[in-house]
């Protein structure tokens, strides 16, 4: 079993200032684009972004890439839903620095304060980098206290990581046998026993080994 690593470094205000880019630099354009996608710009700024995208194919490609990242990580955006131990600020700082190698120019601290887009973007990527242990684990067998079916919103929330208080156990030592049971079950799914067609349900089996010691 592994656990998330806690970083030892937190960014200082000086770190933040050094990351603030020139607004007309490529990084500045990307940050403005990201802010527009988050709805964190004025109408005039949105107009500026659209002009940038329209005249810069590289920026248009960036726009497309950010959308994919956003879609993939959407459910992970709510940091308070995730029960993991890590120093988000520190990792975010490193991700933000990686995003913009040209960010070494002096800039104004208030740009980051007024428009925290770079931190939002970096934090979202950090969430993809955070790995916690969760696969085979014991579950609470207490029956649901309510028979009502919740109205599920279109973007369901990510399930909380179960912690030691939920009697988390390492993989059973007979994991070879469990894998065989998994294979038998998913062969039935491929035959049409479930809603997801074909071989796609096998993602569980293909990924299962990663949890083994």
């Amino acid at each position: 079993m592994t656990s998330p690593t806690r970083s030892q470094h937190s960014p200082s205000s000086a770190d933040v200032a050094s990351l603030a880019p020139d607004p007309d630099s490529p990084l500045g354009q990307r940050l403005r684009l990201s802010a527009a996608m988050d709805g964190a710009v004025t109408l005039a700024e949105l107009e500026h972004v659209l002009d940038d995208v329209e005249h810069d194919p590289a920026l248009a490609a960036t726009w497309s890439r950010y959308h994919r990242i956003g879609e993939t990580l959407r459910a992970a955006h709510s940091a308070d839903e995730i029960d993991v131990a890590f120093d988000a600020d520190s990792i975010a700082a490193r991700v933000a620095a990686t995003i913009g190698k040209d960010a070494a120019q002096p800039a104004k601290t208030e740009q980051m304060t007024r428009n925290p887009v770079s931190w939002a973007l970096a934090a979202s990527i950090v969430l993809a980098a955070v790995v916690s242990v969760l696969a085979w684990q014991t579950v609470d067998l207490a029956p649901s206290s309510s028979a009502e079916v919740a109205v599920v919103d279109p973007a369901p929330r990510i399930a909380r990581t179960q912690t030691a208080s939920n009697n988390l156990l390492p993989l059973p030592p007979q994991s070879e046998r469990i894998q065989r049971y998994l294979e038998q079950h998913h062969a039935g799914q491929t035959a049409g026993a479930g809603a997801i067609p074909g071989i796609l349900p096998w993602v569980r089996v293909v990924g299962f080994d990663a949890e083994r010691p």
């Binding site: 995208v53 329209e54 959308h67 994919r68 879609e71 992970a76 995730i82 969430l127 993809a128 955070v130 916690s132 969760l134 696969a135 085979w136 684990q137 014991t138 579950v139 609470d140 067998l141 207490a142 029956p143 649901s144 309510s146 079916v149 919740a150 109205v151 279109p154 369901p156 929330r157 990510i158 399930a159 059973p172 007979q174 070879e176 046998r177 469990i178 894998q179 065989r180 049971y181 038998q184 079950h185 062969a187 039935g188 491929t190 035959a191 049409g192 026993a193 479930g194 809603a195 067609p197 074909g198 071989i199 796609l200 096998w202 993602v203 569980r204 089996v205 293909v206 990924g207 990663a210």
Partner: protein, 322 residues
Amino acid sequence: MTRFRVVLLSLSLLSANATFAADPQQLLARMGQAAQQLDFDATLVYRIGERMFPMRLEHRVAAQGQQERLVRLDGALRMVQRNGEAVTCSLSGADAEYRSQALQQTLFKRLGQGTAMNAYALRYLGAERVSDRLAHVVALDPGSADRYGLRLWLDQESGLYLRAAWVDAEGERLEEVQLTELKVFGDLSDLAEQVMPTSPSGAQELLSQHPQPAWLPQWLPQGFEVLQVHAMDMPSTSGVEGRVWHVLAGDGIASLSIVIEPAEAEPIEGRFALGALHMHSDVMAGSLQRVLMGELPPATLERIAESMQPISVSPLSAQNPS
């Protein structure tokens, strides 16, 4: 405003919950056809908890049936291939092969006609962008707490799934698969209702070949049916000689496997979870290992396990557990 700008704003509006009329039942039927008839390559991410596994999926339609390959893209090479009814697992150690003869009672054959669909409410939730493609979002909400719900994001162009997520009664996502890139080959306008070859009646046929008592559940959630019963005299997965029973049941959306085999000296006992898939494992009748596995809440598996009894074979009782 230029055309490019109009496109950008239109896409933004669509991703902001713009909805329009669409029949979720037809969308699901189209997904089933597309998944069987289209050639496509996809990269995808399987997410469970906060872990993500990148994989590649290739699907081809050949004369001998569907050919698929699913490969994990990081860590140890792990792969599952399908060639018609044969599924070969190249995971760890020796390859294992399974036969997956097409069932009669698939989701798409039950749409609009069965008790299974009465157990779920079908809803169209609107349109969203997924991996730079426009998708219809369909929800299958369970009518009771004894099973999970499913969300599907279906490509508007091809009908294929772009994203699928199991959700619990509180709306929390248990696991999710999302295609991050999709390349479809061939003519999309050529999709047609496909008649799949099916087994005559899995449960009835196999039970009639094995007249000895079978362990079957006497209770299943509404809409669930026993689909197949396999009995083999062979070394069990534990290496102990004896009869191994494998019962497959489902409601067209969730599925359930029950394995009964001779217990080894250290049987598996406990309750485990892998995303939406739960497993209940214990020893019954003193010497039999019992494993229930399915996309069902643990309390449901527990109830099914408690209802199991040895029965002298009656195909009708197997098809319709009370």
